[in-house]
Every structure is written in structure tokens, then in C-alpha cells.
Assembly symmetry: C2
Homo-oligomer: 391 residues x 2
DNA sequence: GTATTTAGTTTAAGGTCCTAATTATGGGGA
DNA sequence: TCCCCATAATTAGGACCTTAAACTAAATAC
């Protein structure tokens, strides 16, 4: 029933600390006075909590605010050098690792291509660890200052027993990636689905800002969705919510790589589109081939047909989830969105209930296709903002 | 972002009071000692809070628990006579009103049939008020003791500005039902979608007990769904989440009464099934005609086809929401479930991803089709358990 | 250089929970 | 019948938290 849990006086402080820290993070800079106004807490409490945070080195003063009469406000900011975070994007063809400061500004990044068939979990884990070491060395940052590493994977992550990854497209089945990465003195790893991380990134910094109920429709090599409700990512009982790509849109339809028939991915995924257009599908060249297709007049009917499927799928999502915003992302989704956003909206509008459609906007994501690593780091940061103290 | 809100010391007490009250409600009876164990609170705190609650008359002592040596535990229980609740189910053909005590045991109920075309909001509101008065008189209960009335409607309820009801099937468009019902000294009315209330009822008392992630698939005259995630009902930005009946399952398919084409309801709704079986569809007789169909061998292929559509729809829901349980309810759904549950499961299994399907069970609801009013009362009770004090 | 204004800090008061000690209340045995 | 024992419930004391209000600090304006 998810009844609220017992609470004690110290939880109050934990909660208010988290409120202040989050508010300060999203405001980037604020004075104690502004924090009091923003959070509704009394100035005294803000002062106390800020004193704690400054004592820990999490918050620093960042100059004064001009005043015309009266004591100037002392601006505060998260101490972005207090630690750093890493985000990892395990894709179907490469592993991206990126280092961020506590303000989530990128410090350095690297990519390791995966040769086809080289998605062996052990190998991927080695790549991640190696890339992290490399980035730390490159930037000269203290390894002990790495507060956590978020890892986005192209599959389902169940969190209950441990973090087990199920990613059929790269052949992973109940892979204990978290345990494989953890070493004697490694930072904590947080594993989750890549689409969910992209959704978090867009929701914090991108086209999802300000929306509490949001769907991130990700069309990359695979198709997935991240559902954010009331500001929190919907996971379902085994962490597998949002498997949109394999909802069935045609009965006895085309075969899909998942083994099923009639999946959305088999109609609107880039591989399916390339195949329908009569282009050969080579792994590495997939993206450029797809981009080329976009401007080929001969391919237009094929693309429009795919967009129609995608739009219908979005219409059904709108009926089921009643979001206020739907964001199209992923490398293929962003390309399609550049050219076909009106057609997409039209197709969705034909499907969705008028009332629902009228209150939902459909837009492109704003952070590009490479924001999974940002979202992964954001997930770690979220833990920190909501109470985690660095040990 | 739904960041946590500022909290003060008194919120701790409010929260713990709610924890204790909820725990006691679901346990039906418990001693202070057991409550301490169950909630994790110290005996002292439980004692204090219980003293408050007894002072207010919300909780009463309910006998002793046998002990073999040592002071016996004093059993406590919610004082079911402390107030009463009402639940209203506005259906497409009748209005049901039911009175409950604080233990959600039914005290009395009544039904008002709606003549076709008689779904005028004003008239429905009059029916509700009149039926409530009648029930109060019948039972001799104090009208002032009515702590709240939940009203389930067959449509979408947006809560933001006020409670506006959108229910196309009965011709309601932005109906301010809450405001229409409220009088100078009426109890608070809580309006919500009927499927969501049924979902709450099954989740508290029926086949959904113990499940945190749950989908209630309601097949009545219309088709809808209630999605419960982490124990809370998913509403979406305008309260319209779960409009499953009008997701599109066939492209350019059959016309639906919503005006669209290819809706699930046009293939698996009882009216659609009756039509496909060549039976005439008369409003009042719909249910018995459908029930008769169920045992007509000639109609079997039609029914199986409908079940297949339903199962495929459930399979897609499982992919998107990753529930641990799917409950089939509504009068038509329960009938179909009696005969065709295996076929339904099979169809869903063909659609859903194996990992998702393996962790989701599909069952019939256990409370019957009439539990909407129970759920409506439960919604009101939930407010009370989580902090509401009766003024 | 003083008055004014606004930001931030200190202090006292009111709540809350927890631990530990104390009191209450039954059963069992002599 | 009376006393002891075991267990439940209550009370007392201490720690922690927020708030309101008084107070101090640090600027500008005249």
C-alpha cells in the first residue's frame, strides 16, 4: 500500500536539508534570504542548514548581490568541486563515459566502440572501469572524489535483489552489472535503463523543464519510453515499465528482432525504415544511411508511413498516460522530428482522445541523443541532493 | 520536479498519526504493543498518539488479548461508529449510492435507474442528494456524521481548477459536479473516475491485496483501466490516465462510439461483441443478452475473437506498465473472465515480452462489478486515514 | 558621520520522538 | 488468600528541530 513510513524528528532535518540543497541546485545561485522565500522555511533554519552544508564543504559562498540600501545578500552555490560524478551510456554499438562536476557540467568524456558481438558483459565492465580510470587521470581529479557513477543500459534493470540487467538486444540476461563493477574501493554504481536516464536529463535541463507528467519517447536503434509522473520516473514492479517498442501495432505483422510480430519497432525503428526503403542495413553505417534517407525524396512515402506508426503509438501513449508533454528523442527520433514533427502530431491527434490531445504538447528533445550520460550522472546527483552525504 | 516540501516538527506527528491509523485500519484490531512493532515507533509514541485518537473518539478499546502470564494487551480498533461514509457509482444506466461505516462495512444501499437520455448532470446530482437523504433517514444515522462522499463517474475528472467531469459517453463536458453537489452544510464530495475507484477497492480488499504495482482492467459497458503504481493511483496531468478503451488496436478499423476508428472498445466491448454476434443491442437488456451469449456455442468464435483482442491489449499494458498483477473487472470483464481466462492469458503472453509476462499474473477481480461505490468510500476514508481529522 | 534599510544570527519557546525507569495488570504457585 | 513473576502501558528525562522575535552586521543615502 506504500503507506508512509514512521518518521522521527531527525527526518525533518534530513528532509529540509534536501529541500534546500535541491532548491539551490536548480537555482544555481541563491542567498539564504532567497532560499527561505523559495522553500518556505524560516531564515533561522536556512541559516542553520546552510552552516552545516558549508561546514561539510558542499556549499560555498559565491559573491554578493548588489543592493541599494541594506545589507547585501550573500550568494550561495553548490561547491561544484566538492566531488564529481560520472555517467555511462552503454549503447548497442559503443560505451560512452563522461565525467561531470557537481553542477553537472561536463568535464571530460570518452567513447569506446563495441565491435559487433563484443557486448560481452565482462568486456563492457572492463571498458567502463578502464575509461573511468583514464578520465580521472586525464583530468587529474582525485579518484576518491568520485561520488558515484550512473550507468544507462539498453534494457530492463530490476533493482530488487540486486541490479540485474536484462537486455535482449545485446544478449544480456540477468547480468549483475552492479556487482561486476563494484571493487574494493570503487564509488557506488547506479544502474538503470538508458531511456529513463535520458528522460531525467530532458526533464531537468531540456525540453521537459517544468513538466511534472512527461513521456520521453526514445527512437534510437531500439524504441523505448520513459514515463515521468509527478516528477518521478515510473518503473513498474520489475523496473521494466516503458517497453514501448514492443507494443504490438499490427496483428500478425512484420517480424521484429525481439521474436514477436507487429511490434512498433518493426515499423518505426530505423532498421525497419531502412529495410522498407530498400537500403542495406550495415551496423556501423546505420546512422548515416538513415540520415541520408531523410533527404531522399524517393524515400519520403516510406518515412511518412513510419512516422504515422510512430504518431499513432504516441497517441495511444497519450490516452494511457495523459502526459502534459511528449518528447521525441534518440538519434533517429531527433532526425525524424526535424522533418516530420507536424505529420507526427497529426497522426497522434487522429488517435488520441480530443481532451487528452488538447492538453498534451509533442516536441523534440533539446539535449541531443548524447544526453544519456548526463541523465545517468543526474540520477546519482539526485541521490546526493535528497539526503546522501558523501562519506 | 515534485521536490519534497518543507517540513516542520508537527508534520512528524501528523505523519505518525496517519501511519498508526492506517496500520490499525488494515489490521482491524491491534494492541498498542503490536502497533509499536508494526510501525517501528516506540511504545511511548504509540501510547501518546493513541491517547489523542481515543480522546477524539476515532479509536476505541476492543477487549483484551489472552495472555499466559503478564499484563494482557488491550486491543484497539477504529471506532466504526465515529462517522460514516458514502460511495456513489454513477454508471451509464443507473446511479448507485451506498453508505458505509468507518470500517467500510456496507450499511445500506440504493439504486436509481437512469432512463436513456436521463443522464443530465442536474438530474444525476438531484438523484445523488436525494438517495443520500433517503439512506440517512432509513438508517437513522446522524447526517452530520457523514464524513465524506466519494463519487465515481464514467469519465475523466480533472482536479486542477475544481473537479470537472468529462464523460463523453453520457454527454458530460466539463461538468462541475463537485460544485453542483455542494450545499451549505453538505459533507465534502470527492469525485473521481469509476475505474480508478474500483481499482482502489480491489487493491485494498480484493484480488489486488499485497500488490504495489497493479492494473485494473475494467470491461463494463465501456472499457477503462486503473493503474496503481507503488500503491498510488496514476492520474496523469489532467486526471485522465488509463483511457485504455480508446487505444487503437486496428488501423482504419471499426467505428467506435467515441468517434474514432479501431478502438479496443469497438472490438472487445460488450456492445461490439453483441453486434458481432448478430444480437440486437437494447440498452437495458444489454447485460442479460451478454450473459446469455456466454453460453451459446454458436457465439463462441465471436467471443474468442474479442478475448483475443482484450488479451493483446493486456499484453501491451504489461509491456508499458510492468505490473505485477492485472485484474479483470467490470460486469462484462468478470463474465468473460469466468469462461475465457486461459485464452486471455494466452493472448497476452503472445504479445508481452517474456520477462515482463513471467512476472505478471492475470486474474479476475474478487469484489464483483458493484465495488465502485466501495472504492469511492475508500477514497474518502483514505483522506481521513492520512491525516484528515473530522472537524 | 549618522540614519535607514535589509540580511543574517542568536535566543527562548514549543513540539516531537526515543530510551530508560516506573507503574499497572493479569496469571501461577504456595 | 497472598505473593511473585511476566508482560503491557505510562511517565520522566534528554536530544533535536523549527519558529518567532530580538538582535547584530553591513551596506546606501543624506
Amino acid at each position: 500500500m506504500s503507506r508512509p513510513r514512521r518518521e522521527t524528528v531527525r527526518d525533518v532535518r534530513r528532509n529540509n536539508r534536501s529541500v534546500i540543497l535541491s532548491t539551490l541546485f536548480f537555482a544555481r545561485e541563491a542567498s539564504r534570504f532567497e532560499l527561505a522565500r523559495l522553500t518556505g522555511l524560516s531564515p533561522a533554519t536556512v541559516g542553520n542548514v546552510v552552516a552545516d552544508l558549508m561546514g561539510e564543504g558542499v556549499v560555498v559562498e559565491a559573491g554578493l548581490k548588489d543592493s541599494d540600501g541594506g545589507r547585501p545578500q550573500i550568494l550561495l552555490a553548490i561547491n561544484v568541486a566538492h566531488g564529481h560524478l560520472a555517467g555511462v551510456d552503454v549503447g548497442e554499438s559503443r560505451v560512452r563515459v563522461e565525467l561531470f562536476d557537481l553542477g553537472l557540467r561536463g568535464l571530460a568524456k570518452t567513447e569506446v566502440p563495441l565491435r559487433p558481438g563484443g557486448e560481452d558483459p565482462e568486456e563492457v565492465a572492463r571498458h567502463i572501469v578502464h575509461a573511468l580510470d583514464g578520465l580521472l587521470e586525464l583530468t587529474g581529479l582525485e579518484p576518491g572524489g568520485l561520488m558515484g557513477v550512473g550507468v544507462g543500459v539498453p534494457g530492463t534493470v530490476s533493482r530488487q535483489p540486486a541490479s540485474l540487467v536484462h537486455a535482449p538486444t545485446i544478449g544480456w540476461k540477468a547480468v549483475p552489472l552492479g556487482a561486476m563493477l563494484a571493487g574494493p574501493r570503487t564509488p557506488p554504481f547506479v544502474i538503470d535503463n538508458g531511456a529513463k536516464m535520458l528522460g531525467l536529463a530532458e526533464s531537468w535541463f531540456g525540453a521537459g523543464r517544468g513538466a511534472e507528467d512527461l513521456i520521453m519517447a526514445l527512437v534510437g536503434t531500439g524504441i523505448g519510453a520513459s514515463i515521468i509522473s509527478d516528477g518521478v520516473t515510473y518503473r513498474g514492479s520489475m523496473g521494466g515499465a516503458g517497453e514501448w517498442g514492443h507494443t504490438k501495432v499490427v496483428r500478425n505483422g512484420l517480424a521484429c528482432r525481439c521474436g514477436g510480430r507487429g511490434c512498433l519497432e518493426a515499423y518505426a525503428g530505423p532498421q525497419a525504415i531502412l529495410r522498407a526503403a530498400g537500403r542495406s542495413v550495415e551496423g556501423a553505417d546505420e546512422r548515416s544511411a538513415f540520415a541520408a534517407l531523410l533527404f531522399d525524396p524517393a524515400a519520403r512515402p516510406v518515412l511518412e508511413e513510419a512516422v504515422r506508426h510512430l504518431g499513432r503509438g504516441i497517441g495511444n501513449l497519450i490516452n494511457l498516460f495523459n502526459p502534459e508533454r511528449v518528447l521525441l528523442g534518440g538519434w533517429a527520433g531527433l532526425l525524424l522530428g526535424m522533418e516530420f514533427l507536424p505529420q507526427l502530431r497529426e497522426a497522434a491527434g487522429e488517435i488520441a482522445l480530443p481532451y487528452h490531445f488538447a492538453h498534451a504538447s509533442i516536441e523534440r528533445g533539446r539535449l541531443g541523443a548524447e544526453a544519456v550520460s548526463l541523465g545517468a550522472a543526474a540520477l546519482v546527483l539526485d541521490d546526493f541532493l535528497s539526503g546522501g552525504t558523501r562519506s
